[in-house]
């Protein structure tokens, strides 16, 4: 079973993040990482590969700097990577991004595409459906488990109060939550091997997407303004010297919670 994993480079969600003056993500100032849920997608692909064989390919649409996160994905154990990189893509909306990803997927051989349930920067949580609409593949989202069976795939879709068991055939596009696994750390050997793994760079012409379909001008949505929220003001902090619970009760009573 050949698997393509969608990996988005995002600013580290553990650090401060912001938009730049042109209202796009500040990707220079921040520490860029693999989308945190995408790491779980890579792990899920590698586990399926270990049991069922086939190739794992990383697919990223993003600026030059994304090469770094692609190398890390390869270091985790993926076989090869495709980096779609073209200045004309900058400023694309989700719809345009999905057209680019779909066009790249068309040139790759795959039975299964695995993505994060949502990216950790814009977090729309819609990419699998957008891609399903373009490619005609089946889509299942929010998986906490993916099993390959003789008939196809069995997936546990996590819900607010439990889960649903889904069955589908391939080709399929499945997104995963962090509950599915614990991603491995790249080993030193993996890091060394990654340097020699094939990494192709494609532009819009390679995937036959017209420039008029992507970028700021084609965007179906636009950010009008963005402001940083003022930090919450810290309140009173007391140290427990035997009366901490009572002090807290007094505070809650003064606020009419008890």
């Amino acid at each position: 079973m050949n698997i393509v994993v969608l990996v988005k480079q995002v600013p580290d969600s553990g650090l401060e993040r912001q938009l730049t003056e042109d209202l796009t993500v500040d990707r220079d100032g921040s520490n860029n990482v693999i989308g945190e849920l995408d790491e779980h997608a890579i792990e899920a692909a590698l586990q399926l590969q270990a049991d069922h064989g086939g190739e794992v390919t990383i697919l990223t649409v993003g600026p030059d700097s994304a090469t770094e996160t692609i190398r890390k994905s390869l270091a985790m154990g993926a076989d090869k990577a495709v980096h779609v990189e073209d200045e004309r893509i900058a400023g694309s909306c989700a719809m345009s991004t999905s057209k680019v990803l779909a066009a790249a997927l068309k040139k790759l051989e795959w039975d299964l595409v695995i993505s994060g349930a949502e990216s950790t920067d814009s977090g729309m949580g819609v990419m699998p459906y957008l891609l399903a609409a373009h490619t005609g593949a089946a889509a299942a989202t929010g998986a906490r488990k993916i099993d390959k069976t003789d008939e196809g795939l069995t997936i546990e879709h996590q819900t607010d109060n439990g889960y649903q068991v889904l069955k589908t055939s391939t080709p399929a596009i499945v997104s995963v939550w962090d509950t599915i696994n614990t991603p491995r750390y790249p080993s030193l050997k993996g890091i060394m091997a990654a340097k020699r793994k094939p990494l192709e760079s494609w532009d819009l012409d390679d995937i036959e997407v017209d420039a008029s379909e992507v970028g700021t001008d084609a965007a179906t949505t636009a950010v009008v303004s963005a402001t940083k929220r003022p930090p919450r003001e810290a309140g009173k902090v007391v140290t427990d010297e035997g009366e901490g619970g009572k002090d807290l009760a007094d505070f809650l009573a003064s606020e009419k919670f008890i």
Binding site: V126, T159, T168, T220, V224, R229, D240, G244, K246
Partner: protein
């Protein structure tokens, strides 16, 4: 007046909020797609919150296939009635329907919106609530998914015209079959997203057994129990109670964080709570920077004493 669609996946607080948000934008049409006989609550809620119309598609077998049959019904209705905006819940179903609808009708999509004005300008909280942005759809009509707890729902009763929608499930909508639905029992406490008080425990609680203390505090304050991801990952408490970026977003009147450090991904799910209280033995824990009241101390000393004092006041 323009017609605005509100897609209701299930009756409840978020549906009431969406219907309230849509009223200033035009004549509200609730769109409900369900198995036959499963729609009564949603229809009643549409009337309670001022819908002018209810499009009701009762389709046998619609729940046996994942998402697409519902998206197809909404897409057909959209093509027929050309609404000026579509509001959907920011749930996995709402986002699925929104995404298919956006692609098949060529309209722009905005997700996790907390406010929407008559010009279609939407407010989104980005980067885990660190910034607030306004965005708009620049191609076609806005297709918008609404984040829970963004506004106070206000009833406005109406007698909506009910339109029965005929629909069937196409072969191409049957690619993903739902073969089993497992729902875990709900218990007596209020729902995490709807509770006025949420008491959450983190890794500092130390074990599943010791989470009983968090439950006791929640019960004493009439609240729901939440947990950090470190606590759910360690198996102290079920995953569905996780608060944060990849869990539930809560915005209660009172949020109590016990044994939680306050990582940015946790804060993303609770920092809009009205009053925040923290108990942590580390005076430098980041959670204190957003707490209205913090106690530096051992939660196993502070919380039992809190309980005694709450009981004494009752």
């Amino acid at each position: 007046m323009a017609e605005v669609f509100v897609y209701v996946d299930s009756a409840g607080k978020l549906a009431a909020e969406m219907l309230t948000m849509a009223r200033p934008l035009g004549e509200v049409s609730a769109v409900i797609v369900s198995e036959p006989g499963d729609s009564a609550e949603a229809v009643a809620q549409a009337a309670e919150y001022g819908a002018s119309k209810v499009y009701l598609a009762e389709v046998a077998g619609v729940g046996d296939y994942f998402m697409v049959p519902k998206a197809d019904v909404v897409t057909e209705l959209f093509k027929e009635h050309a609404p000026s905006a579509v509001l959907l819940p920011s749930t996995s179903e709402g986002k699925a329907v929104a995404a298919y609808l956006a692609v098949s009708t060529g309209n722009g999509l905005l997700t996790d919106v907390s406010a929407l004005d008559a010009e279609g300008q939407a407010t989104q909280e980005i980067f885990a609530g660190a910034s607030v942005s306004t965005s708009k759809v620049t191609k076609g009509v806005p297709i918008v998914t609404v984040k829970a707890n963004s506004l106070a729902a206000e009833p406005s009763s109406s007698t909506p015209e009910q339109v029965a929608v005929e629909a069937s499930i196409s072969e191409s909508a049957k690619k993903v079959a739902v073969v089993e639905k497992v729902e875990e029992p709900k218990g007596d406490r209020p729902d995490l997203t709807e509770a006025g008080v949420v008491v959450s425990g983190g890794r500092g609680v130390g074990s599943a057994e010791q989470f009983k203390l968090i439950e006791d505090v929640a019960d004493a304050l009439g609240g729901a129990v939440g947990a950090s991801r470190a606590a759910t990952d360690a198996g102290y408490y079920p995953h569905k109670f996780q608060v944060g970026q990849t869990g539930t977003t809560v915005s209660p009147q009172l949020y109590v964080a016990a044994g939680i450090s306050g990582a940015i991904q946790h804060r993303a799910g609770m920092q809009t709570s009205r009053t925040i209280v923290a108990v942590n033995k580390d005076a430098d824990a980041p959670i204190f920077s957003l707490a209205d009241y913090g106690v530096v101390g051992d939660l196993f000393k502070v919380l039992p004493q809190l309980l005694e004092n709450v009981e004494a006041r009752k």
